[in-house]
Amino acid sequence: MQALKYARAASVDDAIRLLRDGGEAARVLAGGTDLIVQARERRREVHLLVDIKRLAETMVLAYHAPTPPDAPPGFYIYPGLEVGAAVPLYRVYGDPDVQRHYRALVEASHVIGGTAIQGRATLGGNLANASPAADSIPAMMALGGVARVVGAGGTREIPVAEFCTGPGRSALQPTEFIVSLYFPPPASRSGSAWERFIPRNEMDIAVVNAAAYLAFEGDTVSEARLALGAVAPTPLALPDVAAALVGRPLDDAAIDRASAAASAAARPISDMRGTEAQRRRLVGVLVGRVLRKAAARARGEEVPA
């Protein structure tokens, strides 16, 4: 166990200042469900924890529908979902708007840890931890998530799909941290789904996980996003596989092609949680399942997690 200092940031600027003064071994604390364990097991050198849980910007959870066509002139609200980086998961998956519009996020955040962990763990933390097997990251990728990041150099937006750069490594620069995550509003006839494979029903790290978002115009796929976890050094967005689905109906042949392409695009390793061959097979199976589930949801069918 390392001796740690703790500071609660009074504002976003205060947090940036604390991180700058703390140097390399200063880390942002949200739920701490990864960070505290890593510090305790000396997997990360941490000397200062900067707690960002008391900031309005990191605790926001708000959904705004697209501006209705009959809105009065001048009425405009930036549409979509804003999730503060320190909002605990139980609030995310318990939110009625998230449940209605972002099912993949509900499915992923509902299985991270147990109830006690979900009272603390956050989407921002899951992303910043940048685990290749993170459960929420493929869901955030499929939903077109963007991380809003601040730091001494100012504010910027990083698409979740570009955020992770290696196992435990991200695009964050020193003093930078995630303030919130933004997700665009889903199209009117769209659906999303997330699945993972673990050998048990609970309490496990994904052997493979997969997420899909599909939007339709008529029978034709108008928009598609696919992402995988635990099959590469980072969570893996599959823009090419998804693009091939667009402009045609989602029939069995299209699903099989997407499964095969995803399986080929995966770059899994063999480890104690599964071999490369098993993971490739599971990618194909899970991609088929999330595509079917997302499509069913787009049709308005009620599909349980």
């Binding site: 104690m272 949680r273 071999t275």
Partner: protein, 784 residues
């Protein structure tokens, strides 16, 4: 729960009822004091430094870097141990047993072996010091595969050493045949036992269905939730050593410390606090080391294993390799069994080779059999006991072979088992006769269970990617024997207190109280049983081997009868009656038929304890030794659904049928059946030590060492069969161990029923299932 086949028996009032466990509220509300809760003034905290190498020479241990950490008070290595041993010897120098290898001396023989212990003023300091300690190793060739280890030209896992202490192994089972120790030329086979009957060639010649297979099973952790923990308090002024330790047997701990430290038992007190799970794993694992540390430091020392420590440096249950060939006539008559089981004992002896070979070959009436059991040393962590050590490994093989032969012959697999099951008086493969047993009754109940009867409908509910199947398997355990003693005292308020030295596992103190309440004709709440320590309680064997209630229950019954008799003698004088004409009822001793002629328990207490009292205090004593085992048999049925795209197995339904003799507390007994079934599911589907190519454990944590969670386990339907034992209290049998023996095999048979393929390695992980179905190329995960 249903209770079947309950024979005519006396009407009991307290035993046979579903008594709530007396130790339950403290556990549920978090107020129970476990070993890790013990805090003493000036106490040091210990952290073990574990070897990362499976086999290596220790070149150098540099303590300075650890000692530089603030709060670190000492680094203890093997060389220091002689400071703690009364005669100055050092048990860790070329030890024959794991028990003596407190800290590795010059050579490590498994990854996870302690090479040093850092003592600190706080746990954080000790951990920091342990992380900073510099240990230099020179790796040596490691022996990691059972088959390779058995070959004559294999390198040795360890230098051969002297005689082997088998006290832990014998705590579980009492068998007459002991394995022969290996001969003169040193090999990795540290013991070998054989049983044979008839003529094996004739047996196969007369068989019409023959099935031959090789089965493997993984090394397992016992899965106790409370980790290994000891607090030792050494008082230099008096030479007193007081030890709190999580244990299944305080007297075993005491004797082990006595032998290891050469410590007089007059200066030694072992206290076993409430136990947070044992399953065969809580047997003097940490108390000798921590006792030595306290003596060396001359201060109290606490060691609580982290979960990682416990998985790496505990004493897990053996993995095994079983080669088996079985023959049967087409009508279902079993003809021949030829098999060998080789247990991976790890770096020290302790594998149940004799037990495994005996039980593998004794549950059916094989006219011809030849079995061998081998204990094989490797550079894996050395094995200890588990609930029914060694049995699930062999039942996996026997029960899959029987199942497969029944399938090939088109017979009901339950019917084949019933036809060939051993009966009372049949010989075991050792030649010894079975006492009264209820295997047939158990299989009959399983055969008529709806889950088995509806197996065709279950199978028919399969879809193209979700295949359902039902599997049945039997198992059993012969039961341990050990003397036991108990004392009872009549209290001033007419209640009864008792003391034994037995640790309460699975509610045994509650069942003891039920027995005393029954014999004293008191309500249960007027009896209290306390677990004393090794200075305050009479001898008790380990709470292990399915013999705690079987032996100590008898001692308590005898103690109650003794106390009652003493009360009759005093009462007879006061009531001017013959002691033989008295009875106990309603907290009084009465003259039979004349309820008005009575004396209350309170009054009896007063006239045997008061100032100037005329009569001796009333102290009931019961001392027993059990000589006839009470084997317990189980039959278990699993219904599974296999996702043929992913290999995922969902256990849909589960039934456990067991002959328990007589259920003193049916609720506790059901708990035993359910717990054993859940562990069986873990064995069958998830639990496994996964090693890398150099013998390092890769899943040293409960995230990747997968025990079943509540979400993975269906409701378990328990059926208690009650065929009375000859020697157990009220006909009871040991119930703890049989329940774990059949689950892995039942699940394997259910999976085979679902997918039409056999998985040759247990646990049947999704990957192995896909591979068995031919859906995966490549090789298995490393170490799997």
């Amino acid at each position: 729960m249903t209770t079947a086949d309950r024979p005519e028996r006396p009407q009991y009032r307290v035993i046979g009822t579903r008594a709530k466990r007396t130790e339950g509220p403290g556990k549920v509300t978090g107020t129970t004091v476990y070993t890790a809760d013990v805090q003493l003034p000036r106490m040091l905290h210990a952290k073990m430094v574990l070897s990362p190498h499976a086999h290596a020479r220790i070149v150098r241990i540099e303590g300075a870097s650890a000692l530089a950490v603030p709060g670190v008070s000492r680094v203890v290595t093997a060389a220091d141990l002689s400071e703690a041993i009364r005669d100055g010897s050092n048990p860790a120098v070329n030890p024959s047993n794991r028990g003596d290898a407190l800290i590795a001396h010059t050579e490590v023989v498994f990854a996870g072996q302690p090479v040093a212990v850092v003592l600190g003023e706080s746990l954080a300091a000790a951990e920091e010091g342990a992380a900073a300690l510099l240990v230099e190793y020179e790796p040596l060739p490691a022996v990691l595969d059972i088959e390779a280890a058995m070959r004559a030209d294999s390198p040795l896992a360890r230098r051969p050493a002297g005689a082997v202490d088998r006290s832990e192994e014998s705590a579980h089972v009492t068998i007459d045949v002991h394995a022969e120790e290996s001969g003169s030329a040193p090999t990795n086979i540290s013991s070998h036992v054989s049983f044979s009957r008839g003529d094996i060639a004739t047996g196969f010649a007369e068989s019409e269905v023959v099935y031959e297979h090789t089965w493997r099973s993984a090394t397992l952790h016992q899965g106790y939730i409370e980790p290994q923990a000891t607090v030792a308090d050494f008082q230099p002024a008096t030479g007193e050593l007081v030890v709190w330790t999580t244990t299944q047997g305080q007297f075993h701990e005491r004797d082990t410390i006595m032998k290891t430290l050469k410590w007089p038992e007059t200066k030694l007190r072992v206290i076993g606090p409430e136990l947070g799970g044992g399953f065969g794993g809580k047997m003097a694992q940490s108390s000798p080391l921590v006792s030595a540390l306290a003596v060396i430091a001359k201060r109290p020392v606490k060691l609580v294993y982290s979960r990682k420590d416990d998985l790496l440096a505990g004493r897990p249950a053996t993995g095994a390799l079983v080669k088996i060939k079985t023959g049967m006539k087409r009508d279902g008559t079993l003809m021949a069994l030829e098999a060998s089981v080789a247990y991976d004992s790890g770096a020290y002896p302790g594998a149940p080779a004799a037990t495994g070979a005996l039980l593998m070959s004794s549950f059916y009436r094989w006219p011809h059999l030849k079995v061998d059991g081998y204990e094989v040393l490797t550079n894996h962590v050395s094995a200890g006991a588990i609930r029914a050590p060694g049995v699930h490994n062999v039942m996996q093989a026997v029960e899959q072979n029987i199942d497969e032969m029944a399938r090939q012959a088109g017979l009901d697999a339950a019917e084949v088992r019933l036809r060939n099951a051993v009966r009372t008086g049949d010989p075991m493969s050792s030649g010894k006769e079975f006492p009264a047993i209820g295997l047939v009754e158990t299989v009959e109940r399983a055969q008529s269970h709806p889950l088995w009867q509806h197996r065709d409908e279950v199978r028919a509910a399969s879809t193209s990617t979700k295949k359902r199947g039902v599997g049945l398997a039997i198992g059993g355990w012969l039961g341990g024997l050990q003397p036991a003693a108990a004392e009872l005292f009549l209290n001033s308020d007419g209640t009864v207190n008792g003391v034994t030295g037995a640790l309460d596992i699975s509610g045994t103190n509650t069942s003891f109280a039920q027995i005393v309440a029954e014999e004293m004709n008191l309500p249960l709440e007027k009896v209290s049983i306390t677990t004393g320590d090794t200075r305050t309680a009479p001898f008790a064997g380990m709470s292990a081997g399915s013999k705690t209630l079987f032996t100590m229950g008898k001692a308590l019954r005898d103690a109650a009868i003794d106390l009652r008799q003493q009360m009759y003698e005093v009462a007879a004088e006061r009531l001017e009656a013959n002691p033989d004409d008295l009875e106990v009822d309603g907290g009084e001793v009465r003259v039979k038929g004349v309820p008005t002629k009575n004396i209350s328990y309170e009054r009896l207490a007063a006239i045997t304890t008061g100032f100037g009292a005329l009569y001796k205090p009333l102290v009931g004593r019961g001392t027993v030794t059990a000589r006839v085992q009470a084997p317990g048999f189980t039959a278990q049925i699993a219904e599974v659904e296999v996702d043929t795209e992913t290999g995922f197995v969902e256990v849909k339904n589960y039934a456990s049928v067991q002959d328990v003799g007589f259920a003193i507390n049916p609720m506790s007994v059901e708990g035993q059946l359910e717990g054993g079934s859940v562990q069986g599911m873990g064995i069958g589907l998830w639990e496994e030590y996964i090693y890398d190519d150099s013998g390092r454990l890769r899943n040293a944590g409960l995230l990747d060492y997968r025990m079943p969670t509540a979400a993975d386990v269906p409701d378990i339907d328990s059926t208690l069969v009650e065929v009375p034992s000859e020697d157990g209290p009220y006909g009871a049998r040991g119930v703890g161990e049989p329940s774990i023996t059949a689950g892995g095999a039942a699940l394997a048979n259910a999976i085979a029923d679902a997918i039409g393929a056999r998985v040759p390695m247990m646990p049947a992980t999704p990957e192995r299932i896909l591979r068995a179905m031919g859906k995966l190329g490549g090789s298995e995960a490393a170490g799997g």
